[in-house]
C-alpha cells in the first residue's frame, strides 16, 4: 500500500471512532444536565411565579415531556444546525456560539502558534546545548513561565503595552468587521498570556524528547555516517521527538479553546469561556448543552487531527487494517 493510502485507511478508522465518541458524548451531556440542580423556568420567572405560567414556560422552552423525546428533539435539531434558543438571550444558541467561536477559535490558534513557534525551538536549542549555560537559562525561563499566574501576567502586559507604551488596546474586541488587523491586535496580548505556560511546557517536552532520542543507537549510526551533532539532531532526532510533542500540542489546543475564561474576563473578550460561564450561572442549560457539545466536537476533532499527524510522522502506526 502506498504511504498516502495507508494514512487514508488509518484516517478512515479513526474517523469512525470520532463519530461514535461524539454520539456518546451528546448522551452524557444531556443526561448530566438533566440531573444538574436548578430549573431554568423557575430561575427566569422568579420565586413567586404562578405554577401554571411556569408550566407554560417549561413547555415553550422544550423542558416538558419525556427525556428520551427531548433528547431526540435536541439532537435532531443539532444535526440540522439548530441548537435551540437561549433562555436568557432569547437568541438562537447556534448564532451565539458562532459569534463567540469567532473570537475564541482565532485566539486559541494564535496562542498555540506562539507556543509552538517559541516552545519547540527553545526546547531544541536547550537539548542541543544540554548541560551548558544556555540550557540552564532556558530551563529557568520555562520554570518561570509555568509559575507565573496568568491573570497577573495579563495585568502586567496590559499595564506595560497599553497603558505605558500604548501599543495595544487594553481590552475588548472590535469584531472582525472592523478589519483583520485591529482584531488581531486586540487578540495579541491575550494570546501571549495564554501561550506563555504552554510554550514553557512544550519547550520542556521537546527538550526531554530530544535528549531521549539522542541516547538512541540510531543517533550513533548517524554520527558514524559523518553527520555533525547538530545535523544528526535535526535530521534524525527531531522527527522522533515530535511524536510526544504532538500529544501535548493536541491537549493544549483543546484546553485553549475554552480554558481562557479568566483571560477573556481580564481582556473583556466575548469568548466561548465567558459565554458558558454566564450560561451556567443563569441556568441557561440549552446554551450550556450546546457549548459543551461544540467543545467536545473540537476536542475529538483535534485528537483526530493529532492521530493523523502521528501517522504522518510515525510509519509504525500506518499498519493496514
Amino acid at each position: 500500500m502506498t504511504r498516502a493510502g495507508a494514512i487514508a485507511s488509518y484516517a478512515g478508522r479513526r474517523f469512525l471512532s470520532l463519530a461514535l465518541t461524539l454520539l456518546a458524548a451528546s448522551v452524557v451531556i444531556f443526561v448530566l444536565l438533566q440531573i444538574a440542580p436548578g430549573d431554568p423556568a423557575a430561575y427566569m420567572m422568579g420565586l413567586n411565579a404562578d405554577p401554571r405560567a411556569l408550566e407554560a414556560l417549561r413547555a415553550e422552552l422544550g423542558l416538558a415531556g419525556p427525556p428520551v423525546e427531548r433528547y431526540l428533539n435536541w439532537i435532531g435539531g443539532v444535526l440540522r444546525g439548530d441548537f435551540g434558543v437561549s433562555y436568557t438571550y432569547r437568541a438562537p444558541v447556534s448564532s451565539l456560539i458562532a459569534e463567540r467561536l469567532a473570537v475564541s477559535g482565532p485566539l486559541a490558534l494564535l496562542a498555540l502558534a506562539l507556543a509552538v513557534g517559541v516552545g519547540l525551538p527553545l526546547g531544541a536549542v536547550a537539548a542541543a546545548r544540554r548541560g551548558g549555560p544556555l540550557d540552564a537559562l532556558i530551563m529557568a525561563a520555562t520554570q518561570i513561565g509555568l509559575a507565573v499566574p496568568n491573570f497577573w501576567f495579563a495585568i502586567l502586559l496590559v499595564f506595560v503595552f497599553s497603558i505605558v507604551l500604548g501599543w495595544a488596546s487594553a481590552g475588548g474586541f472590535p469584531g472582525w468587521d472592523a478589519g483583520v488587523l485591529p482584531a488581531l491586535r486586540s487578540l495579541l496580548l491575550p494570546a501571549l498570556v495564554l501561550a506563555l505556560p504552554q510554550a514553557a511546557i512544550l519547550a520542556r517536552v521537546m527538550r526531554s524528547a530530544l535528549i531521549d532520542a539522542q541516547g538512541r543507537q540510531y543517533m550513533l549510526t548517524a554520527r558514524a555516517k559523518g553527520l555533525s551533532e547538530s545535523e544528526a539532531l535535526r535530521r534524525h532526532a527531531f522527527r522522533n521527538a515530535l511524536i510526544p510533542a504532538l500529544t501535548i500540542i493536541g491537549l493544549q489546543f483543546s484546553f485553549l479553546v475554552a480554558g481562557g475564561v479568566i483571560i477573556e474576563n481580564v481582556f473583556y473578550l466575548p469568548g466561548l469561556g465567558r459565554l458558558v460561564f454566564q450560561a451556567i450561572t443563569q441556568r441557561d442549560l440549552i446554551v450550556v448543552q450546546g457549548v459543551v457539545l461544540v467543545l467536545v466536537l473540537i476536542v475529538v476533532t483535534v485528537n483526530f487531527l493529532v492521530d493523523i499527524a502521528y501517522a504522518v510522522v510515525d510509519p509504525r502506526l500506518r499498519r493496514p487494517a
Binding site: Y218, A222, K225, R235, P315
Partner: protein, 539 residues
C-alpha cells in the same frame, strides 16, 4: 603501511578507567577479531576509533589511520573520515536504524554527506546498495521502514550504510548477536564479501569465539580494558599463551554434563494437537500448528528454531498463559488451562520459567528475597515473611549465591548472578518442570558455562525436567536428552540429542547444523585454508 594502529590507547570515563593501554594493528584486507566478555572494553575501543565517545570520556595515546593520528584531528576533519574512511555497523539492528525514516533515505545519507549528491542521485546509489546486500532480491524496496524488515534484513541495511562509501576500515560490533544461527551465518558471509570487495580492513567485535574462529585472520583477546593476547587465529586457539585466553577457549568448548536418565519415566507434561492462531493485518497466522509433545519427569528437552517459529507461543501454552484454539495441555495428568481457579494453583506451583533477560523480568525496586520468594504465594497455606525469607535464602545458597544477598537490589548484581537469582526464583516452589526460554543466551561464554553446569546439577539433584528453548544449537545438543526442531509453528523434526543433528534427513535440521559455528570444526577448516595460502605464496 599499517591501516589502523592504536598505541597505548587509554580511556577514562568519569574517573573509571575503561581502556588501559590498548595497542592493536590492522592491515588492509585483513580481518581482526576482537574478543572478550561484555564490559571488557571492546565497544569502547571501536567508539574511540570513531571518536564518538560518551560525554565526559577522556582518551589518550594514539589512534592512527594510514599514519594520521585521529585523536589529534580537529572535529571537522574527523567528521569527513567517519562514514567515508571508517564505516561502522552497530549491534542492535532495530535500534541502529531510525524508525521514522525509510531505508532508502538512511542508505542515501552517506552519499549526501560525503559526496554532496542531491537526494535523487543519492537514492539511486542507495538502490545500488540494497541490491548489493541482497535486500532487493528479498523484495525490500527503498520505501520500506525498519519495522517492516526482519532482524536479518535490518542488519543487512545497517551493513549497507557502513560499506556505502567503500571505507578503508570497517568496524562491526557484535553484528549477529540478535540473530538466529541461519541469519548469523548469512550476515557473516555477506560481511566478508563486502569487506573483500571494498578491500578494507575489518575489525569484528564479538564475544563468540567459535564464530570469529571461522573467519578472522588474527584474534585479539580483551579483558578488563587490556589486550591480553594477540595472534594469528590458528596459533592463538591452538596454543593460547595467556590464562584468560585459555579460560575463554575452555569455556567455549565446555560441554555441561547432562543429567543421567533413568529408564523411561511417566509423562509429566503433555500438549496434544495444540493449535493457536493470531490475526495480523487481516491474515491469520498459525503460531502453533498441531503441536504434540510429552516431557517426562527429569527429562531435558531442547527446542530449537528460528525467531518467529512459535517457540515462545508453545512456552506460553505450556505455562497455561495462552488459551489454545484447539488441543489440550496436561500437567501431572490433570488438564492445565488458563484461569485462576482454585484447582489451578497447586498445578501452577509445579511449573516455572526463566527468561532471557532476568533484569527485565525483575522489579528493580524489590529486594532479592522478595523477588525470589514471590512465586510462594502459590503454596498453600501461604507462608509468612520469615518462612519466605528462609526459603529464598536456602534457594540462593543452592544456586551459588550466599544468603547475605537477601536484602540487595537486582542492579547490584552482574548478569550471571542475576540469572542465578532468576533460577532461584523458578525453583523456590519446588517445581517439577522449568521452562528455560533463552535463559543463558545473554550471558558471556564463561558465565554461561557455569550457569549451564548449575542447571544440570539442579536437575540431577531435584529430578527436574527442563524445556530448554534456544537458538544455540551447540548448547542444546550438549545438554538435552531429546531435541525438537520447530519451524512455522510445527515440530518438523525430533530425535535424541546425541544423534539427531548427525543423522537427520530433514533439510532444516541439516541447515541449522551447518550454520552453527563450532570451534574444532572452524579450526580444522582453517588449517586446510592456510595450506592453500601457503601454496599460493610459494608459487
Amino acid at each position: 603501511m599499517t591501516l589502523l594502529r592504536t598505541e597505548q590507547l587509554t580511556l577514562a570515563i568519569g574517573g573509571a578507567r575503561i581502556l588501559d593501554g590498548v595497542s592493536l594493528a590492522l592491515d588492509r584486507g585483513e580481518t581482526l577479531g576482537l574478543v572478550g566478555e561484555s564490559g571488557s572494553g571492546k565497544s569502547m575501543t571501536a567508539l574511540s576509533i570513531l571518536r564518538l565517545l560518551p560525554d565526559g570520556a577522556a582518551a589518550s595515546g594514539a589512534i592512527s589511520l594510514e599514519g594520521v593520528n585521529l585523536l589529534a584531528l580537529p572535529e571537522a576533519e574527523m567528521r569527513k573520515r567517519r562514514g567515508r574512511d571508517v564505516g561502522m555497523a552497530f549491534q542492535e539492528p532495530m535500534s541502529a536504524l531510525n524508525p521514522v525514516q525509510t531505508i532508502g533515505r538512511q542508505l542515501a545519507e552517506p552519499f549526501e554527506i560525503h559526496r554532496g549528491l542531491p537526494r535523487r542521485e543519492a537514492l539511486a546509489e542507495a538502490g545500488r546498495l540494497i541490491d548489493m546486500v541482497g535486500l532487493k532480491a528479498a523484495g525490500v524496496g527503498l520505501d520500506r521502514y525498519p519495522h517492516e524488515l526482519s532482524g536479518g534484513q535490518r542488519q543487512r541495511a545497517v551493513l549497507a550504510i557502513a560499506v556505502a562509501l567503500e571505507p578503508k576500515l570497517l568496524i562491526a560490533d557484535e553484528p549477529t548477536t540478535a540473530l538466529d544461527a541461519a541469519a548469523q551465518a548469512e550476515i557473516v558471509r555477506l560481511l566478508m564479501t563486502l569487506a573483500e570487495k571494498a578491500g578494507c580492513g575489518l575489525l569484528f567485535i564479538t564475544h563468540d569465539l567459535p564464530l570469529i574462529a571461522g573467519f578472522a585472520d588474527r584474534i585479539a583477546v580483551m579483558h578488563r580494558g587490556r589486550i591480553v593476547e594477540t595472534g594469528r587465529t590458528r596459533d592463538l586457539l591452538a596454543a593460547p599463551a595467556h590464562s584468560y585466553s585459555r579460560a575463554l577457549i575452555a569455556a567455549a568448548a565446555h560441554e555441561p554434563k547432562r543429567p543421567a536418565r533413568r529408564a523411561p519415566a511417566p509423562a509429566l507434561m503433555t500438549i496434544q494437537d495444540g493449535v493457536k492462531s493470531f490475526r495480523k493485518g487481516g491474515a491469520t497466522r498459525r503460531a502453533l500448528d498441531r503441536v504434540s509433545l510429552a516431557i517426562e519427569r527429569g527429562e531435558v528437552v531442547g527446542l530449537v528454531g528460528e525467531s518467529g517459529s512459535g517457540k515462545s507461543t508453545l512456552a506460553r501454552a505450556l505455562l497455561a498463559l495462552e488459551r489454545l484454539d484447539e488441543g489440550r495441555v496436561t500437567l501431572g495428568g490433570e488438564p492445565f488451562m488458563p484461569g485462576h481457579g482454585r484447582r489451578m494453583r497447586p498445578l501452577r506451583r509445579r511449573i516455572q520459567i526463566v527468561f532471557q533477560d532476568p533484569y527485565g523480568s525483575f522489579d528493580p525496586r524489590q529486594r532479592v528475597w522478595r523477588i525470589v520468594s514471590e512465586p510462594m504465594h502459590l503454596v498453600d497455606p501461604k507462608p509468612g515473611v520469615e518462612a519466605r525469607r528462609k526459603a529464598a535464602a536456602d534457594m540462593l545458597v543452592r544456586v551459588g549465591l550466599g544468603a547475605d544477598v537477601l536484602d540487595k537490589y537486582p542492579h547490584e548484581f552482574s548478569g550471571g548472578q542475576r540469572q542465578r537469582i532468576a533460577i532461584a526464583r523458578a525453583l523456590v516452589t519446588q517445581p517439577d518442570i522449568v521452562i528455560l526460554d533463552e535463559a543463558v543466551s545473554s550471558l558471556d561464554v564463561s558465565t554461561r558455562a557455569q550457569a549451564l553446569d548449575l542447571l544440570m546439577e539442579l536437575s540431577a539433584a531435584m529430578g527436574l525436567a527442563y524445556l530448554f528453548i534456544s537458538h544455540d544449537v551447540a548448547t542444546v545438543r550438549a545438554i538435552s536428552h531429546r531435541v525438537l526442531v520447530m519451524k512455522n509453528g510445527a515440530i518438523v523434526d525430533e530425535g535424541p540429542a546425541a544423534t539427531l543433528f548427525e543423522t537427520s534427513s530433514h533439510p532444516y535440521t541439516r541447515a541449522l547444523k551447518a550454520a552453527t559455528p563450532d570451534l574444532a570444526g572452524a579450526l580444522a577448516a582453517r588449517v586446510g585454508a592456510s595450506y592453500d595460502g601457503a601454496v599460493e605464496e610459494t608459487t
